[in-house]
């Protein structure tokens, strides 16, 4: 998939989502969202270990978040 198609997909998704009318979620309705399994990274230690393993064996790593220092992983 070329660069153009990727960005087109992202913009389309953005437009579609913006178009979805949504009633605001009240504070007392956020309980389910606060549960452990709904976090971006429920187990940060594991997420870090996963990224380290994948990043050191693939060509493009990183994640949303501050990057740490590298390693001499071979």
């Amino acid at each position: 998939m070329g660069t153009n198609r990727a960005f087109f997909a992202v913009i389309t998704l953005g437009v579609l989502l913006a178009g979805c009318a949504s009633t605001p979620v009240q504070p007392w309705e956020r309980g389910r969202l606060a549960r452990w399994d709904m976090r971006w990274d429920p187990d940060p230690l594991q997420a870090a270990a996963n990224e380290h393993a994948h990043f050191s064996k693939e060509g493009s790593g990183g994640h949303i978040g501050a990057a740490g220092g590298g390693c001499g992983c071979n």
Partner: protein, 391 residues
């Protein structure tokens, strides 16, 4: 108020309130408590399959992580993680042009055991809220490599449904390859990395959230691999990559909670491209299933595909090449990984464990694989973990 005998109902009320009104009520200011965690990870690559010279026993890594996550007074949090890794095994060194122009992977001899230590810390103001600020620092060290990094992240609520995330980090790495004189490697090289990101998180409804983000990275300095060589014509030359690398990535993450199978679905997609010509797609799907009695089962799948760097090839002809590398990690390949994690909570203890199986191959890439990528690997990874929650 009279000093007469208390009515039964008053006595009942006061008795019920006693625990809450006792002057000796010792309540720590820390909210959310403290957790300590331990993880043991094992990583083992499959032996090399295919035409090769050298030890086929590839890399094995054992690592242990210790984490302390605690709340501090004044609504702050501290998270410190220490990691110790032990690594051994051979790795791809260079590729020879074999008979019929088929690549022959030369692997380094099995290395002696190497150790790597890392310490990471982060200090967060207003943790767990939509407007938090985190300062982080990390330092890692191994025999031939040292790296330090500093980062800052800020989360800003835009309205009840949208949160903006931003962050930046800087790191400095120093490499001093082992056996530099023996193998005529560079002696001392450095690189700097600057990274910034922006993200938007959207609460769609009471069961779903979506996050979209952009990350930019720029590396400057020595970016080649001093342990790798490249076959160029009839010469074997050191790996030579550009002195800068810029990278942009777009990330989408979706989380959806289900009530009837008491579970949550995680879907992540990442697209990245960089100035070396590497383009990649990553898709992660995870299913977090609650089984009752404090058990959680988490199967997950990952698919990764990348397109090679402009200067990648298993080996090169005699033409002039400014940059060249035969590191399989810059080739065109795809990888599938499947994992299964289990968690169990008993009172204040939480047990976790999991296993991942990963296979990469040139054929798994999206788009055509122009060159072979000898050296692409498969591995098995497992871990066990224990967490303890203090109140």
């Amino acid at each position: 108020m009279s000093a007469s005998k208390l009515s039964p109902s008053l006595a009942a009320l006061m008795g019920a309130a006693a625990a809450l009104t006792s002057a000796a009520h010792a309540q720590t200011a820390a909210e959310g408590g403290t957790t300590v965690g331990y993880r043991f990870n094992e990583y083992g690559e499959d032996s090399f399959d295919g035409a090769a010279i050298g030890s086929r026993e590839r890399y094995k890594v054992y690592s242990q992580q210790f984490q302390l996550d605690t709340r501090l007074p004044n609504n702050a949090g501290l998270d410190v993680t220490a990691t110790h890794e032990v690594m051994s095994g051979s790795s791809p060194w260079y590729v020879l042009r074999g008979a019929d122009a088929r690549p022959v992977q030369v692997l380094s001899g099995a290395t002696i055991r190497e150790h790597r230590n890392e310490l990471r810390g982060s200090y967060t103001i207003d943790p767990g809220t939509a407007s938090s600020t985190t300062y982080s620092a990390s330092y890692s060290q191994e025999r031939d490599y040292r790296a330090g990094a500093l980062g800052i992240e800020r989360s800003i609520p835009l309205n009840a449904a949208l949160t903006l995330g931003t962050g930046a980090s800087l790191s400095h790495d120093i490499i001093q390859p082992t056996d530099a004189a023996l193998y005529d490697r560079v002696r001392h090289e450095e690189k700097n990395t600057f990274s910034a990101f922006g993200s938007l998180a959207w609460v769609i409804d009471k069961n779903s959230v979506l996050q979209a983000g952009v990350q930019l990275n720029h590396e400057d300095g020595y970016l080649s691999d001093p342990y790798k060589l490249v076959s160029v014509g009839s010469d074997i030359l050191p790996d030579h990559r550009p002195g800068t690398r810029s990278n942009a990535a777009v990330l989408l993450r979706y989380r959806h909670a289900f009530a009837h199978p008491d579970a949550a679905l995680h879907l992540d997609y990442r697209y990245a491209q960089d100035s070396w010509g590497v383009v990649s797609h990553t898709v992660d799907v995870g299913w977090y299933q609650r089984l009752g009695q404090g058990w959680q089962l988490i199967p997950a799948l990952r698919y990764y595909s990348q397109q090679e760097a402009r200067f990648y090839a298993p080996f090169f002809g005699v033409d002039e090449h400014r940059f060249f590398s035969s590191d399989y990690r810059l080739g065109t390949f795809g990888a599938f990984a499947a994992s299964l994690n289990v968690r169990k909570r008993i009172a204040r203890w939480e047990f976790s464990g999991g296993i991942e199986r990963y296979h990469a191959a040139a054929d798994y890439a999206l788009g055509s694989a122009d060159s072979a990528v000898p050296g692409v690997l498969s591995y098995t990874r497992g871990f066990v973990g224990l967490d303890y929650h203090f109140d």
